[in-house]
């Protein structure tokens, strides 16, 4: 059902955890739907210096979270904002059709975190 790459990210997820005193936090999904994700980011000079995630959810939810952190780390905020859920799924070699929507929120989570950072640092 899942590609080898999805399973690899599920088995060995990258960047798990919470950044203490994060510069931005994004939370998407909710436990009622069985999928929820929290992304915390550290920003330096408009660049994503660090990024960590916590995810409640299925294999796809975990793998996309892991993948998005890999894709975003070290990127400029504007570039990171352009990462789409579709792009994450593609980077993973595709997801099963049933999982394309509900369990593919990682990019949304990242964007929420960046927006949170920008809102806090607008001043």
């Amino acid at each position: 059902m899942y590609s080898e790459l999805v399973m690899e990210h599920f088995r060995n997820p990258r960047n798990i955890g919470v950044i203490e005193n994060a510069d931005g936090v994004g939370e998407v999904g909710n436990p009622q739907c069985g999928d929820m994700m929290r992304i915390t980011i550290k920003v330096k000079d408009d660049i994503l210096e660090d990024i960590k995630f916590q995810t409640l959810g299925c294999g796809a939810a975990v793998a996309t979270s892991s993948m998005v952190t890999e894709m975003a780390k070290g990127k400029k905020l504007d570039e990171a904002m352009d990462i789409t859920n579709q792009a994450v799924a593609e980077a993973l070699g595709g997801l099963p059709p049933a999982k394309m929507h509900c369990s593919n929120l990682a990019a949304d989570g990242l964007q929420a975190a960046i927006k949170d950072y920008r809102a806090r640092h607008k001043a």
Binding site: F10, R11, P31, Q32, G34, R38, Q54, L56, A98
Partner: protein, 395 residues
């Protein structure tokens, strides 16, 4: 990881090698079509008749009351759609429960969209149906009551005989989905007072793709599959001789070892539950603690999601399910868990282990050993589970 610990017997079972052995001669050698007049075909007709008699004997029915189908789904669909069609002059009201298998619920929904009225009686926190609820739901235009014998997710065993007395008194047809019960609980169609009953061979170590419907004599039901005159004109399609022979053998074997298996599986299941609940915090039992199938354990774990547990257990060679097998792919929480009052977020965090003939103490102990670290790991990466954070109180 080579060891396989199969604990998903409610989903399907391996075909017993003894069953395969009795099927083989009917595939390539004695392959004749039972609807023919020559000896090769008549031998097929005879062995199918023997199967019919053996199965009928096991459930205390007449051989002519057994109709072979392609499985439990077909039998369920046939019972519900067939009765609704044949009795539409009497009425268009049907009664079922909130925890039936999708084969029943979706058939009911199909009818509902076409103008039938469906009453879904509720269940209690353990998944038990109160027969009085069925009585209260009866109306003059009720044509069918369809209630499962045992639930496929939480294993709850329903009071079928009590419901049977009520439907019989009311003169309403009673269908029982016995797909999970067959081979595990004694089935006596007279004692249970049922008019129709569905089984599926692959759930009791028989082959996939074959099942049956018990249909009480003189019960009017429109065929679901129209065509050749097989099954006395009530179910068309070339007779699946090897499948039927295999199913009859499987039921015979299951019937012979039923009591023994039940005791053994229940003991192992209890050992599993005790081991897991001792080693893991915030783990809860779903379903009735007592009135449940011997091999069934269904638990929920705070702060984690079902599929991720299934995938991680699979890495340890353990096969379990995070809900009803056939709803995999759907992201809906199990309708059964919702019906017994479990909130959606906890339903998503549920796991079903169904033990069977192959299950050993070592299997159970392996499970008890490998599961706690998995739970820890998943909880560590869960945004709604953390030792010290506020969200923990939420759960």
């Amino acid at each position: 990881m080579d060891r396989v610990v199969y604990m998903d017997h409610a989903s399907t079972t391996p075909t017993d090698p003894e069953v395969v052995a009795v099927m083989l001669p009917w595939m390539s050698e004695q392959f004749g079509n039972p609807s023919t007049m020559y000896s090769l075909g008549l031998r097929g007709a005879k062995v199918v008749q023997n199967a019919r008699e053996s199965i009928a004997h096991t459930i205390n029915a007449d051989p002519e009351e057994i109709y072979f189908t392609s499985g439990g789904t077909e039998a369920d669909n046939w019972a519900i759609l067939g009765v609704a069609d044949a009795h539409s002059k009497k009425g268009r009201h049907l009664i079922t429960s909130t925890i039936e298998h999708h084969a029943v619920l979706e058939s009911m929904e199909y009818l509902e969209k076409r103008g039938c009225e469906i009453t879904r009686v509720p269940v209690d926190g353990g998944g038990l149906i109160d027969p009085e609820e069925v009585r209260r739901a009866l109306r003059p235009d009720t044509v069918l009551v369809s209630i499962m014998y045992a639930n496929n997710e939480i294993g709850t065993i329903e009071p079928i005989a009590d419901i049977g007395r009520i439907t019989r008194e009311a003169g309403v047809l009673f269908h029982v989905d016995a797909v999970q019960a067959a081979g595990k609980l004694p089935l006596d169609v007279e004692e249970l007072g049922v008019d129709m009953l569905s089984m599926s061979a692959h759930k009791f170590y028989g082959p996939k793709g074959v099942g049956l419907m018990y249909l009480r004599k003189r019960t009017r039901v429109t065929p679901l599959l129209h065509g050749g005159g097989q099954e006395r004109g009530r179910r068309a399609g070339t007779t699946n001789v090897p499948g039927i022979v295999g199913m009859a053998k499987a039921l015979e074997l299951a019937d012979n070892r039923m009591a023994e298996d039940a005791v053994r599986e229940a003991a192992l299941r209890d050992r599993l539950w005790e081991g897991l609940s001792a080693g893991i915090e915030a783990i809860h039992l779903n379903g009735d603690p007592v009135r449940r199938l011997p091999g069934n354990l269904n638990v929920r774990l705070d702060g984690i999601e079902g599929e991720s547990m299934v995938l991680m257990l699979d890495m340890e060679g353990i096969c379990v399910s995070s809900g009803s097998a056939c709803t995999t792919g759907s992201l809906e929480p199990s309708h059964v868990l919702l019906a017994i009052g479990i909130p959606a977020e906890h339903a998503h965090g549920s796991l079903r282990a169904t033990l069977g003939r192959s299950t050993t103490t070592e299997d159970v102990d392996h499970f008890i050993k490998v599961f706690p670290p998995i739970v820890d790991r998943l909880r560590q990466m869960s945004p709604i589970w953390c030792e010290n954070c506020v969200c923990k109180q939420r759960n």
